[in-house]
Subunit: 133 residues, 2 copies
């Protein structure tokens, strides 16, 4: 199961870590996870490689939540829900932005549309329960 080459060992680990979770983590969270297996990993390396993966389209960024950038290893188009109470991000995988809106956007702007992002914000179920209890 060992990779043939030890090159890109940490790089691959960063990508694998992000792909293996649906928690839409921050760079710091990934860093903390990998710190166990790679005690000498640097936070700079995590940022560096996340930027690289972004450029290559292998991952996507959700933008910042509470001042921190959050990443998503799932590049399939899907919708997100962000809880303003606990900053958790939840996938809404069954939902999709109608294609008609995307083409309208390109027409209306006269530019090129590369991606679209639909995000709901509100209070998640557990935060709702916490408040009423």
């Amino acid at each position: 199961m060992e990779p043939v080459t030890k090159q890109f060992k940490k790089r691959n680990a960063i990508l694998a870590c992000l792909k293996s979770t649906d928690s839409h983590p921050s760079a710091d969270w990934i860093y903390a996870q990998l710190k166990n297996e790679y005690p000498d990993i640097s936070l700079g390396t995590v940022y560096r490689n996340l930027t690289l993966f972004k450029q290559q389209g292998m991952i996507q960024s959700l933008g910042t939540v509470g001042g921190v950038e959050r990443f998503d290893g799932n590049t399939d188009p899907h919708v997100h829900f962000i809880c303003t109470g606990c900053d958790s991000v939840i996938d809404l995988p069954q939902m999709e932005v109608p294609q008609s809106l995307c083409s309208r956007a390109a027409e209306d702007t006269g530019g090129r549309v590369a991606a679209c992002q639909l995000t709901f914000t509100g209070t998640c179920q557990s935060c709702c329960l916490r408040k009423t209890s």
Copy 2:
């Protein structure tokens, strides 16, 4: 035309400045604009009051574009296009997120949905032209 009270003079100016533009500015941009009329205004005051307006629902935040938070004085639901070339933000006022998606989001999460944001990213018309020329 002078307001009856001079209280909240700068606060009102900040809100008026944001409401009077469709450029979806940053705190720093608003600060630079007001610096002319109010040479002693502080950047902290701009941030403070924008945070206040946000909490009161009088304005909305678009999140960060190129690492800086951008604001919108228009709280009517509408769609945005962000150019990754020049970081400009353009309104797509005719477009709306189908109500069916919003209710689906509430159902699927079991939480409370407060807002939704649909954002297209890509290259605006002038950046497209600049590239090909």
